[in-house]
Amino acid sequence: MIDRLKFIPGRLVQSLPVALGVTLIVFFMAHLLPGNAALALLGERATDASVAALTEQLGLNRPIWEQYVIFLTRLLHGDLGQSLTYQLPVTDLVMQAIPVTMSVLGYALALSLIISIPLAALAAFRPGGARDLGVRSYTLLGQGMPQFWVGIMLILLLGVNLKIFPVGGYGTTMVDHLYFLFLPALTLAIAMCPTIIRSLRSSMIDVLGSDYVGTAKSKGAYGVALLRDHVLRNAAIPTVSVIGVNLGYLVGGSLVIEQVFALPGLGSLMINAIFARDFPTIQGVTLFVALFVVVVGILTDVIYTMLDPRVDFASKDQT
């Protein structure tokens, strides 16, 4: 097992250009803003003197590639600049917000697996049957519903009418968090499930038609045991890829959900920064999120390798 994971260092090296590219784009975002970058960073009400000072300090009058190097160096030291609104290091603000966002994401992933696996299995065991059609209708509908709207509907149904769950906020203790984060996580899960179910159902149908499932049945396996020991282990493999690819989209979605449920995570940080024109914070959050997606990509490959013994990344083609 361990020697199959030897591809990781190589993979990390492969991701470097992408990571660098990400930093490049984020860096250039500042320069896309109309007008002087320092002015953008300080906000419109800055005095000429402070603008001049910051320009000097940030080396904005130096050639652009030099600025990029400075930016990169600062980044490697964990310095993302100073928030204009809070006068605090952006890194600190991001660090504070990360746990909230990550909790919602993790919670949502867990919930969506709990929902998706049984539904996909129900559909796959008898394709074309009533249950299959039901599940597929759900996936069709689910892909058409705006995430934030689903959140609002959930608030309406479970928070307002049935009063089971709170309509917003984060809570203070661990148990509180589980309670408060349930609706946002469920909203995200509902958005994620259609993609997962479609992939899982399709690969389950393939697996169920395979010869080795026939062998398993000839050994007497059926029902839940068949599912657990044979079907899932194989059907999960392509789905892991699909989840990995979609996680990026999901992170974006979670940022919006945070607005719906008033959660103090990266999303709120970002949106507030946008309205306050707090560019360093915008830059910082974007950078973090993009790098997070790159890391998730690598993790997905690792998990994929652990699940499928046939895969050999050393010779894997890049398609």
């Binding site: 080795y212 026939g214 062998t215 398993a216 049945k217 050994k219 007497g220 493999i237 499928d308 013994p309």
Partner: protein
């Protein structure tokens, strides 16, 4: 006379089509397999031989079902048995070996574990015990260095080894009936021979009966004691291997022999049977072999010929079975 281990009576398998008549793929098939007997079912692709076997193992593909008839295993009726009870038979009583070992083994599970699954489920063995048994079985099937090989994944082994794994897996719970669906077709000729010998020896040892489906007469000749020849869903000839191959009474059986290489007489020309087997959906009435039969007469096309006993224990479904084909077709 002792009761046969397996008794198939008037078995018909096909695809139901709502209010229309179902499409028959296997039509009114009957045969017996005694304890410890090695029974071959021979036919071309599309003859229905695989489906017959799968019906016994309750492994019919989606949409295909047993339409009528009975399958008695040790006196118990298998047709119509609830799935859960049926599954309890598979493994300890009936086991199946498939044609293509690469696709028949779970690609993400180590082979030792796959062999151990049966004993763990049925013989109540613990993890460790079942793994020991798996290694035992691997050794019995002639796999070198079984302890190390047990930790391998299917794609790391050669075709011959994989088939041995399948055999080990099938025999791990000591079944009384082993169903083999063309187990050697996908293997090299030299490996085929070894695997067949292995199967014979293991079945002799354990006393298991063998139901062996193949299109290769040479294999049947080597491995089986009795056989049934199937064509287009019907059994057209049955009897002991020696009897049928020495004195075939159905023109199809004769055709099969003529078209197969004979190592005793390599100079004999191979004569293929002209034409193709009929399409399942559009079978003509009467004998299904009529369009291709060198001995066909008008009466052949009116009704399906019944099984005639031409000699003790030897039957052929041909109205001209009383005279051997060899006499009728001059060579």
């Amino acid at each position: 006379m002792t009761e046969p281990l397996l008794s198939v009576r008037s078995l018909s398998i096909g695809v139901k089509r709502g209010s229309a008549d179902p499409t028959l793929i296997v039509d009114d098939v009957s045969f017996d397999i005694a304890k410890g007997e090695r029974f071959g079912i021979v036919g071309e692709s599309g003859s229905g031989k695989s489906l017959t076997l799968r019906a016994i193992g309750d492994l019919l593909p989606r949409g295909v079902e047993v339409l009528s008839g009975s399958i008695l295993y040790n006196g118990t009726e298998l047709v119509g048995m609830p799935r859960s009870s049926r599954r309890k038979l598979m493994g300890p009583e009936i086991a199946m070996i498939f044609q293509e070992p690469m696709t028949a083994l779970n690609p993400v599970v180590r082979v030792g574990e796959q062999i151990a699954e049966g004993p763990r489920r049925y013989l109540g063995m613990s993890r460790a015990e079942s793994m020991t048994r798996a290694i035992e079985m691997m050794a019995k099937t002639g796999i070198p260095d079984p302890v190390r090989r047990a930790r391998a994944y299917p794609h790391e082994l050669s075709g011959g080894l994989r088939q041995r794994i399948m055999i080990a897996m099938a025999l791990s719970c000591n079944p009384r009936l082993l169903l083999c669906d063309e187990p050697t077709t996908a293997l090299d000729v030299t490996v085929q021979h070894q695997v067949l010998r292995l199967l014979e020896d293991l079945c002799d040892d354990s006393g298991a009966a063998l139901a062996f489906v193949t299109h290769d007469l040479a294999v049947v000749n080597q491995t089986c004691t009795d056989l049934a020849v199937m064509y287009s869903g019907h059994i057209v000839e049955s009897g002991t291997v020696r009897e049928v191959l020495r004195d075939p009474r159905h023109p199809y059986t004769q055709g099969l022999l003529d078209s197969a290489p004979d190592f005793d007489r390599p100079e004999r020309p191979l004569i293929p049977i002209p034409g193709f087997p009929p399409n399942v959906a559009s079978r003509p009435s009467g004998c299904p072999f009529a369009p291709r039969c060198p001995l066909v007469v008008e009466a052949c096309r009116t009704a399906m010929p019944p099984m005639e006993t031409v000699a003790p224990g030897h039957g052929a479904a041909c109205i001209r079975a009383d005279r051997t084909s060899r006499e009728l077709v001059a060579r």
